[in-house]
Symmetry: C2
Subunit: 247 residues, 2 copies
DNA sequence: CGCAATCTTGATTTCGATCAACGAGTGTGG
DNA sequence: CCACACTCGTTGATCGAAATCAAGATTGCG
């Protein structure tokens, strides 16, 4: 094999994934597969190692308890790559589109031998898993120690960095998910989220133009309401675009 | 290199680590190093990849917010292997002994080349990171959706599995950490933990012989109070003992 | 023994959940 | 075109769980 710029390069089979994993496989059949999901649609994580890259929309990694309580453990927006845990005993997870979304699915379950034999690929996966752990930790602290206002401000700032659109009047964000979903992500309930949004608006930290759109003039001010900085780049198991030398 | 049983086998340089990682290194200098820690002692995670195996005691991965609130994001008891996130921007983490502890530290920061060139090692690390993610997710759900009683029952059952000692009268657990530490792990405060312990005792789910020792007759009953099953084996980034084929 | 740290318990407050009503927006069918 | 059902979001009233504040009790250690 040759060396080459994989991430976003012309040679990669899925340019939009921008993760470089595809190019490291030995080209056996299960190649990346595009999927479209409607809002509310679920995808079972199934068995075996699979990776997903979000191309559009917003996708959640969810779990639920016996009595129906749901917890969203992670959100992925375009550019994020994620890999659900292969949990068999304790909790079961599924992937759910919170808005119409497009994903690229990479099924590595039949590539176990490739992974075990390709150090570059294996260490890429390790790096990726570490990156994912990092963002889970931040969310864990959020749920363990932040109050409602802090959680919501962190969330709004996070979404602004992820999917906000810079305009002359500030950063405009189209929130592609329902209050219920936000609540399940933040460990609150939907009414509480709605109430806190009102408080945020009253405090002029964000201006809600409609239930699904807000404008932030000063992201730093919003962020400083939470004692944890929001990530400035897409969170999750992402890959930076960079040169990868093939073995 | 030959094939062999590394985990716990006679050939491994650090039998007690039981993780098989050491044996996969090419034997360059920074070899495993034993450390003893007093209660309250901290270890900075520093830069570069390091792995720790707990040999004795109990060790926490901690972080804290600007105003001093502390969150323990993970606990490691003997047999656990863990790898702190190399967080530089958002949160900073440290390792803290909650009781006198012994660790084995493996510094891989100078072995980047070995990792990138050794597929078995790299995929071991990936597997390990995935295992760690799995237990963080369970804790995240605990903090997001469980009430105090559920969190405490899950914790007591978890500790019973991890460090309980089977006796004729039930599973006896010497709790090696303070109420404050339990609270910081469970996202509660120390007084609340103490109150819930009293309720647990009154409900005969566990019998507190002293502030640092309890006996559980029926772990299943304790566990069923929480809507998430406790892990039956040491949580965290653990390795199963198994045959490893060296490349 | 005496002191300090830790644990427990009580009183009160606060925050978020729950229950309930209502309004806005959307889609459907008559 | 309107009537209707339906989902979603907002707001109010009330309740309950946990935090906070404040004693005491217990434990452990020099």
């Amino acid at each position: 094999m040759a060396s080459g710029k994989l991430a976003g390069g012309a040679g990669g089979p899925f340019r939009s994934c921008a993760n470089g994993i595809c190019g490291l496989l030995d080209g056996g059949p299960p190649l990346p597969r595009l999927r479209s999901m409607e809002r509310g649609e679920r995808l079972d994580t199934g068995t075996g190692l699979k990776l997903w890259t979000v191309l559009g929309g917003i996708v959640a990694l969810c779990t639920s308890l016996a009595d129906g309580r749901r917890q969203i453990v992670g959100l992925s927006t375009p550019g994020n790559l994620f890999c659900p845990p292969d949990e068999t005993e304790r909790l079961d997870f599924w992937i759910e589109a919170l808005a119409p979304s497009q994903l690229c699915e990479l099924d590595l379950s039949s590539h176990a031998r490739t992974i075990a034999g390709n150090a570059t690929l294996a260490s890429e996966l390790f790096r990726a898993a570490q990156g994912q752990a990092r963002s889970i930790y931040a969310h864990l602290v959020t749920l363990g120690r932040l109050d409602g206002m802090e959680r919501v401000c962190l969330f709004l700032a996070d979404m602004a960095w992820r999917i906000g659109e810079r305009t002359p009047e500030g950063c405009r964000v189209r929130l592609p998910m329902a209050r219920e979903d936000i609540a399940d992500y933040l460990g609150l309930n939907a009414e509480t989220v709605s109430r806190i949004f009102s408080r945020v608006k009253k405090a002029r930290l964000a201006d809600f133009r409609s239930p699904t759109e807000y404008v932030v003039q000063d992201i730093a001010a919003l962020q400083s309401r939470a004692p944890i900085p929001a990530p400035h780049r897409p969170a999750g198991l992402e890959f930076e675009e960079r040169e990868v030398a093939l073995s």
